[in-house]
């Protein structure tokens, strides 16, 4: 009798260890720096900012609307941005998607030189030297990429380098948006 009771109590710490182990194991695959965006499903914040190419030209939210599009936050001081730049050009051509660039906390001249040397995948480039627009978006660092629908609702946010692997789920969402529009 007491043997059975003892065995039952023995199961408790084993279960506990399994539960804690499972919890921690799940945490292993997660990126601790990942922050869920508060803007998913919400409207892109309205803004009015200088164009990177011409300080006299103002770019507003309206420029981003009309079709599902990507918005990419980048800077010349950000090595990961350089790493994904080629892929962004590829995406803009292969998937025929408009990409808008937000040049974040950067120097205008350096940014323009970068686009001239590496090519410019952006339909419009917004200049955000003080990160003001960045704060409204909840930007933590560069690069970040947003998928928005034709009316400016934020559908998805990707933090970090965009590459062939993590583009796939975003691409699915983009295609779904296009299908929904037709």
């Amino acid at each position: 009798m007491s043997q059975i009771i003892k065995r039952r109590w023995f199961a408790l710490p084993v279960l506990l260890i399994l539960a804690i182990g499972g919890f921690l194991y799940k945490g292993l695959g997660q990126d601790p720096s990942y922050l869920p965006s508060t803007l998913l499903g919400k409207q892109w914040p309205s803004f009015a900012a200088e164009s990177l190419y011409d300080p006299k030209v103002t770019i507003t939210k309206d420029h981003f609307l009309g079709e599902p599009a990507l918005v990419n936050v980048w800077a010349t001081w950000c090595p990961t941005c350089k790493a994904e730049h080629e892929f962004l050009k590829q995406v803009s051509q292969q998937d025929q998607v408009s990409i808008f660039g937000i040049n974040y906390h950067d120097d205008r001249e350096a940014a323009l030189r970068w686009l001239e040397e590496l090519g410019d995948p952006y339909k419009h480039s917004v200049y955000d030297p003080d990160g003001v627009l960045g704060i409204d978006l909840g930007v933590v660092g560069a690069p970040e990429t947003y998928l928005i629908d034709s009316k400016g609702t934020i559908i998805a946010k990707h933090i970090g380098e965009l590459n062939a692997r993590n583009w796939l789920p975003l691409r699915e969402q983009l295609l779904a948006l296009r299908e929904g529009a037709n």
Partner: protein
């Protein structure tokens, strides 16, 4: 004379070390507030928020670009005469509950709030189990008066036979 030299050297080394320490903190900018109350609110608010980039530092202690931006923003919002609660709401709207070191009590943070209580209950359970176990083991060793007498008799008779 020697003692004085030694002391002087120590003081000099200390001064050099202090020089380094001010350099280490000089990256955090100093803001001028006209109002002393605003300055205090700025200090307490920037201690209250977590830097979204570095995660284990407050806005006040972080040197990350985003922390600088957010300090600047907090200063601007204070000068725009927003209340502390409005400033909190402004940041939470953009960065989520994560920016608060003191997160609100709601379903998504229940686990966070309850986990210490759960851990406490589990700990008490373990102690309780261990205690009942010890007690039950102790019962196995209890002997009644008759058994005890038998035992004494047995040993004393054994001793006699050994003589």
């Amino acid at each position: 004379m020697h003692g004085f030299k030694c002391l002087l050297r120590k003081v000099l080394m200390m001064l050099v070390a202090m020089g380094f320490s001010t350099q280490a903190f000089s990256a955090i900018e100093v803001y001028d507030f006209s109002d002393r109350e605003l300055k205090q609110r700025f200090a307490s608010l920037s201690e209250e928020f977590r830097c979204p980039k570095c995660q284990n530092q407050t806005l006040a202690s972080s040197d990350a670009l985003i922390a600088k931006d957010l300090r600047k923003l907090v200063k601007k919002l204070l000068e725009d005469e927003l209340s502390d609660d409005e400033i909190r709401a402004y940041l939470v709207e953009r960065y989520g509950d994560f920016v608060l070191y003191d997160p609100p009590f709601k379903p998504s943070t229940w686990f966070l709030w309850f986990s210490p209580i759960i851990a406490g209950i589990l700990g008490m359970l373990v102690i309780l189990i261990l205690r009942t176990r010890v007690n039950s083991q102790r019962e196995d060793f209890t002997v009644n008066a008759k058994q005890l007498q038998d035992l004494i008799n047995a040993t004393t008779s054994g001793d006699k036979s050994n003589d």
